[in-house]
């Protein structure tokens, strides 16, 4: 048995089991009908990665269209305003509904959450598979809508534009509706799993912080997503039967749509970011080889972010026709979000203090996360301050801000998580060298692409603009060059991971010296995750008890 030379790896001293979840049964049918959370997690990982590729191609096309104000490539005009509007709409819809909402919970958490609890599977394995097929169904609707003419409403489907424009809005709305149920089922499953399937001896405050984060996320998923479903049904009814709900032409109220929409879509932002933070809470103690600082504060901050997420939706509408009183109240509530976010950052930093820090690829992503999330979080203060928000909202400043939170934080954490659990999921180690180079390119490319957009936004460049003033040309071009660097980094990361499946070294059971239960299984795990029921013997992240024990 080969071992990597990763510093701190706890080498398994037992032979690798012959049968694991990947080779227990074979054939495509055994995958399509599986109720194993690990296989479903892997299928989700393939699915959301494909969605990320599609959404990413649209992103590159958006940036390419803005390379110069004449929209020329090799001297020829190649894109019109209508096409550009479809590019950014499809980029948003695919990235939000098909990629980032299911990304961490449905793929990584599906795989590791039951294992972190010492469970054999999630509470409702069949529901888990049903949730995956709903995702596939939603994806099929979405792709059909793209092929049949596309959608030009923006991912927010604001009325009355969305009820009056041409295109496959109905199909795309159906896609989002179905994907919502997929998300609800996943959340429901995780809540039941966390409540009922913890290993003997594991109390609520013995759970890994990743589980706390995913649990908080699941609460938002089941409470907020139904509101999106209701809103989208109302939108479809209005579009089809001309019932006046949102469109003033039939006596409706367009601002009501925004309230309904953001009542889901603001909590949805936390469906995206809280799992990312949850991954970072695993990576930092593992690679600092030190117990997490302020375990309870981090756990509570996840839950309080989930609760706060329900009462700040109005900050998306400061200039949209909300009353001044509502604006003031939402501004105050929004500031509160800074506190739990800050608490997490300070706790992560304190965990690194006096640690023993090594720089494997997952940790490089965690360190990038701290840098990018600091920018994403601090630029949020500009928006919660009412007087400044008025100037900056609906400009590139907000585009840059939420990409720093969504892409710079959540997606970077997702990449960190993939690299962290890759040896467990696949039984293979990837090249650390290429992993590090890819991470560096992604970091540089990302900052080039979106850092520059803060300047354009402050200068007054509105978002969703096909044509722009000549003075923005150099910065737009710089941002587009950045997107190319970012794309190269992403491809390098993907190739590194895929190559490892063929030629990677065999992974030991616990390559990073992690302290949570999933590392007690073999790599890759056996069908039922553990050969024996693991029992909690010490708190998570306790580096005074480094040896992994089995009953």
């Amino acid at each position: 048995m080969e071992h990597t030379l990763t510093p701190g790896a706890v080498l398994g001293d037992r032979p690798r089991p012959e049968k694991n979840y990947l080779n227990e049964t074979t054939g495509i049918w055994s995958w399509m009908t599986t109720i194993d959370h690990k296989r479903i997690g892997i299928m989700y990982l393939c699915g959301v990665s494909t969605a990320f590729l599609i959404g990413g191609v649209f992103a590159l096309l958006v940036r390419l269209a803005l390379l110069n104000p004449q929209h020329t490539l090799f001297g020829r005009v190649w894109v019109t305003a209508e096409t550009y509007n479809r590019f950014f709409t499809l980029h948003g819809v695919v990235m939000v509904f098909l990629f980032i909402i299911p990304s961490i919970p449905a793929s990584l958490a599906n795989f590791v959450l039951p294992m972190m609890l010492g469970a054999k599977d999630v509470a409702f394995p069949r529901l888990n598979l049903a949730s995956f097929y709903l995702w596939v169904g939603g994806a099929i609707f979405g792709i059909t809508a793209m092929v049949l003419g596309g959608v030009d409403t923006g991912w927010t489907f604001y009325t009355p534009y969305s009820t009056t424009t041409d295109g496959s809005v109905g199909l795309m709305v159906m896609a989002a509706f179905i994907l919502g149920f997929s998300s609800i089922f996943t959340g429901l499953n995780f809540i039941a799993t966390v409540h009922k399937l913890r290993a003997p001896g594991m109390g609520w405050f013995d759970m890994p912080l990743f589980v706390w984060g995913i649990y908080a996320t699941a609460l938002i998923q089941i409470l907020a997503t139904p509101v999106l479903a209701i809103t989208l049904v109302l939108l479809l009814l209005e579009r089809t039967y001309k019932i006046g709900i949102f469109d003033p032409a039939y006596g409706g109220d367009p601002v009501l749509f925004q309230h309904f929409f953001w009542f889901y879509s603001h909590p949805a932002v936390y469906i995206m970011i809280v799992p990312g933070m949850a991954i970072i809470s695993e990576l930092i103690p593992t690679f600092s080889r030190k117990t997490i600082f302020g375990y309870r504060a981090i756990a509570y901050s996840s839950v309080s972010l989930a609760l706060l997420s329900f009462i700040v939706w109005g900050h998306h509408m400061f200039v949209a026709g909300e009353s001044d009183l509502a604006n003031v109240v939402f501004s105050a509530l929004t500031f509160l979000v800074a506190i739990p976010s800050g608490v997490k950052v300070f706790n992560w930093l304190s965990t690194m203090y006096k640690g023993n820090i090594s720089f494997e690829t997952p940790m490089l992503y965690a360190l990038s996360f701290l840098f990018l999330f600091a920018i994403g979080g601090l630029t949020g203060i500009f928006f919660s301050t009412l007087a400044v928000d008025i100037h900056l909202t609906d400009t590139y400043f907000v585009v840059a801000h939420f990409h720093y939170v969504m892409m710079g934080s959540t997606v970077i954490a997702f990449f960190g998580g993939i690299h962290y659990w890759w040896p467990k999921m696949t039984g293979r180690m990837y090249s650390e060298k290429w992993g590090a180079i890819a991470c560096a390119l992604i970091f540089v490319g990302f900052n080039m692409t979106f850092g520059s957009q803060f300047i354009m936004g402050g200068q007054g460049m509105p978002r969703r603009y096909f044509n722009y003033l000549d003075k923005f040309q150099p910065i737009h071009a710089f941002s587009t060059y950045g997107s190319w660097v970012l794309a190269v980094g992403l491809f390098m990361m993907a190739i590194n991971l895929l190559v490892s499946l063929k030629t990677g070294k065999r992974a030991p059971d616990n390559p990073w010296g992690g302290t949570t239960m999933e590392w007690e299984s073999s790599s890759p795990p056996v069908f039922h995750n553990f050969e024996h029921q693991p029992v909690l013997e010490h708190e998570p992240y306790d580096y005074r008890h480094r040896t992994v024990t089995h009953v």
Partner: protein, 312 residues
């Protein structure tokens, strides 16, 4: 720090732009200090506590005093910023009683302004300097947003509702307003020019509509109207199909209309198409053009006719 402000924010065109910029710059410096603190600590720890094989780490689980400090201090900071933010916001929430009122109507994809005396303009608005102006805005179709970066004002323009903004323009010269709420194909071309003028110049403009037209040939004047009044959004000059027929070579043509009739494109038809665009719609196009009745001065209609005539 003026260089940094002007690198990050547009010129200050209104009376409260300076105050808003001050809050912006304060938050910026606060963010820079916090960012340097966070990333500085990160980098220092990474270097100071880099991996040494076998080195044990202390078992520090928490520190209640420290955790209370780093929760309460940011909270106090946030409370302060909150009050500062609403203070600035409230100053421009309600327009003063003596403000000049301008009615704004937005539609795909142009801005129309109406002055108290009934003067109407499209895609340009003239304002006297140092006098508060109050825009009362509504939309005829979808959501739009009236955003003048130099003035630091922005507000959605909503069908079936009125929304308002006000400001006191201070910087003489030309400023640009943009549409900041996505409204479809012409969204990014939906600009209006905001001219801030001295009192005398403004009054002269109000009286005469300006004497600009006398400085141009009718064709040139028509071309300026073509660009300023929003014609360019839907009518191309190179034959390309858009929302409306291209003007290239249209003069003197027999056009097929919806319903099968034909019409000769002459002075009478072009004039009618501007003032009653729904009357005779060319086949293959939708009746989407808004009327320009009352929006075009006589010299402007004559210019447009001459301009179309010149497009062979």
């Amino acid at each position: 720090m003026e260089w940094l402000r002007s690198a990050l924010l547009p010129p200050q065109g209104s009376a409260f732009a300076g105050e808003i910029d001050f809050v912006y710059m304060f938050i910026l410096w606060l963010s820079i200090v916090l960012f340097v603190g966070i990333v500085g600590a990160e980098l220092y720890f990474v270097w100071r506590y880099r991996y040494v094989p076998g080195r044990p780490t202390p078992h520090q689980t928490h520190n209640t005093k420290l955790e209370i400090i780093w929760s309460v201090l940011p909270l106090l900071l946030c409370v302060g910023l909150f009050f500062w933010g609403i203070d600035g916001y409230m100053k421009f929430a309600v327009a003063p009683g003596d403000a000049m009122e301008v009615q704004v109507t937005a539609k795909k994809w142009l801005w129309q302004f109406e002055y108290p005396d009934g003067t109407r303009t499209v895609n340009e608005v003239h304002l006297p300097a140092d006098k508060p102006v109050h825009f009362v805005m509504t939309s005829e179709d979808v959501l739009h947003d009236f955003y003048v970066p130099d003035m630091r004002v922005k507000r959605d323009v909503i069908p079936n509702r009125y929304s308002e903004i006000w400001f006191t323009p201070t910087a003489l010269g030309e400023h640009v307003s943009t549409c900041a709420e996505y409204c479809g194909k012409g969204h990014s071309d939906m600009h209006a020019k905001v001219f801030v003028e001295t009192k005398e110049k403004y009054e002269e403009w109000m009286a005469t509509g300006g004497d600009e037209w006398m400085k141009h040939t009718p064709e040139e004047w028509g071309k300026i109207q073509y660009e300023q009044k929003g014609c360019a959004t839907c009518h191309s000059l190179d034959g390309a199909k858009s929302k409306g027929p291209s003007w290239k070579g249209i003069w003197g043509k027999m056009e097929k209309l919806q319903g099968g009739k034909t019409v000769l494109v002459d002075e009478a038809y072009v004039r009618e198409s501007m003032l009653q665009p729904q009357a005779k719609v060319v086949e293959g196009f939708e009746p989407v053009m808004p009327t320009f009745q009352g929006l075009l001065r006589e010299n402007e209609i004559r210019g447009l006719v001459a301009f179309i005539k010149s497009l062979k």
